[in-house]
């Protein structure tokens, strides 16, 4: 420490309250002899102290939410280990004895896990998939909507379900098992009654959506190539059926998850690819939280609104078909490429199509429940 720089060391220590009494005394002495420096020091001292106020300015509401989320996440973590670690630990034991010793140190839980794992050996690819399959065999409650209608219903546990047009849900009559299982084809909006002892699981198109008291929307029509899950409140965990080793995806409020479906045809090929590169193909997006829930695209239907944004006519037609219970026939390919933004609340079919036509020109004719679409020809 050079003599000339000593003053800086002392000032720094004093400001940070790290200096000894001797150092303080020495500093005071030096500063008394140099008024410029003394002023300097005073300024810095002010500057130092005021930082406390900034950190104090807080966002109470936001903090509360964060903290409850942390606690929820912690609960989820605590609930999961049993199901997740079984296959992993089993493999490790077979491969590496060293780990076995370490593992046995956590005796209690592990012993139980190992025994259960041995018993379910081979069958335990995924408890949840088994349940999904079982669900299809037992006698069930089915709630279905046709095209053109939406419905709202309640499950035996008090969970409210809104079903969009052309959708079906299947669940056990008594709904009283260790988990609450529902199978979905189509689109539904769930407001799940919280019950941490009985997780609520939605099975659809190869994925399982596991929730703990939340509000969320699932879009999974058989014709769709993807499954979309939008979380409004709470927390969900999404896993791919049959791939227990893949890490689950957690959804936080205002996030939307789009997962690629594996089509039946591709299953074998896909399984091979995924053995080498086990990644769920998905996209996780953050939704704009400044938009009110009732104004959002993903859940517009719950508020009786049909919405589309920048979607091509073919996709829009799919939505229109279900919404109005009509069949739409495209007479040429060009018309399918038109894109639309729009939102319909109370319009009739004709009104809707007229509106669409003003946005992007095309010709249409309605005959009963059928609508024929033709693009505008230039000769016109």
């Amino acid at each position: 420490m050079h003599q000339s720089n000593q003053i800086w060391y002392l000032m720094a220590r004093s400001l940070s309250r790290e200096s000894t009494p001797e150092e303080e005394a020495f500093l005071n002495n030096a500063l008394q002899q140099n008024s410029a420096l003394q002023q300097q020091y005073n300024i810095l001292k002010s500057f130092w102290g005021s930082e406390q106020e900034i950190n104090a300015a807080s966002n109470i509401e936001g903090e509360r939410k964060k903290i409850s989320r942390i606690l929820q996440l912690a609960k989820v973590q605590e609930l999961l280990p049993q199901k997740e670690e079984k296959p992993v630990i089993l493999r490790r034991i077979l491969k590496r004895r060293r780990l076995l010793i370490k593992v046995i140190m956590y005796a209690g839980i592990l012993l139980m896990v190992i025994t259960t794992a041995w018993i379910l050996l081979g069958k335990n690819d995924n408890n949840i998939t088994k349940k999904a399959a079982a669900l299809q065999e037992r006698p069930q409650q089915i709630i279905a909507t046709q095209n053109g209608s939406r419905t709202r219903t309640m499950l035996p546990d008090g969970t409210t379900v809104w079903l969009n047009a052309g959708s079906k849900i299947y669940f056990d009559n008594d709904f009283a098992g260790a988990t609450r299982d529902v199978r979905l084809e189509g689109e539904a909006y769930f407001d799940v009654v919280k019950n941490p002892h009985r997780p609520f699981i939605v099975h659809t198109a190869g994925i399982d959506i596991r929730v703990l008291g939340t509000v969320f929307n699932v879009k999974s029509y058989p014709v769709d190539k993807t499954v979309e899950t939008t979380l409004i409140r709470g927390l969900v965990q999404v896993t791919r059926q049959g791939y227990p080793q893949q890490k689950p995806i957690f959804l936080h409020p205002n996030q939307k998850l789009v997962v690629q479906k594996i089509l039946e045809v591709d299953k074998d090929k896909a399984a091979e690819i995924e053995k080498k590169q086990p990644i769920i193909k998905y996209k996780l997006a953050q939704l704009d939280t400044t938009i009110k829930e009732s104004d959002r695209l993903e859940t517009a239907w719950v508020y009786n609104r049909l919405e589309f944004r920048g979607e091509d006519f073919e996709t829009v037609a799919g939505k229109l078909e279900r919404w109005y219970n009509v069949t739409i026939v495209f007479e040429d390919e060009k018309a399918k490429q038109l894109t639309f933004n729009g939102s319909f609340e109370n319009e009739t079919v004709e009104q809707a199509f007229t509106a669409l036509k003003t946005a992007s020109p095309f010709n249409f004719s309605i005959s009963g429940h059928e609508i024929f679409i033709k693009s505008v020809t230039k000769v016109n």
């Binding site: 000339s4 060391y9 300024i43 002010s46 500057f47 900034i54 903090e63 942390i70």
Partner: protein, 189 residues
């Protein structure tokens, strides 16, 4: 801001959720800033801090074994950030902050204090922004977060002597920039 957290530790051990809340409240802003300096993203920083608290709560049965909760939290955040950046980044822990572009907290003290003019404020901020990365990080942790030299040395894995030196450099630069010159008797660095 490194008071005694022993009571909070105990309360957490006994499953008191309000203690976790209090701890979070006390630290999250600083930890997020710290994390952001490393990962450059608000979302990732928030997530890292959240993960650290989730893990803390999950392992609350071991919490009383932690000697210094402050250091633990910062180190946990640091490690999570480095994991996020890359596995290889762990090797850089020896000189961790030379490569990083560090932003200090955006809130600035109220310049309407008698002693500090707005112009002086600006000059100081400018100097602080221009500090070399490691110096800047040390200065931030000591001044903004109120950590002790010893804690900073544990978190950043550098010696207390180095911290002394870095702080001295920072103070010197700020004073020099404020335009008030030292008396001629003293020699420049």
């Amino acid at each position: 801001m490194t008071g005694n957290f022993k009571t909070i530790q105990q309360r957490i051990f006994y499953n008191d959720e309000t203690a976790l809340a209090a701890l979070y409240q006390a630290f999250y802003v600083k930890l997020q800033h710290f994390a952001k300096a490393l990962v450059h993203s608000n979302e990732v920083a928030e997530e890292v801090v959240e993960d650290v608290f989730v893990k803390l709560w999950c392992n609350r049965s071991n919490i009383v074994t932690i000697d210094n909760l402050t250091v633990y939290l910062y180190v946990a955040v640091k490690n999570n950030c480095l994991n996020f950046i890359s596995k290889k980044a762990k090797d850089l822990i020896a000189s961790p902050f030379d490569f990083l572009d560090i932003e200090l907290s955006e809130g600035s003290p109220n310049p309407h204090d008698i002693l500090i003019t707005a112009e002086m404020m600006q000059r100081m901020q400018k100097v602080i922004e221009a500090l070399p990365p490691r110096c800047k990080m040390v200065f931030k942790l000591v001044r903004e977060d109120g950590l002790k030299y010893k804690e900073v040395s544990q978190i950043l894995n550098i010696s207390v002597n180095t911290i002394d030196a870095q702080m001295a450099i920072a103070v010197k630069r700020i004073c020099t920039a404020m335009g008030i010159e030292k008396s001629r008797k003293e020699l420049p660095l």
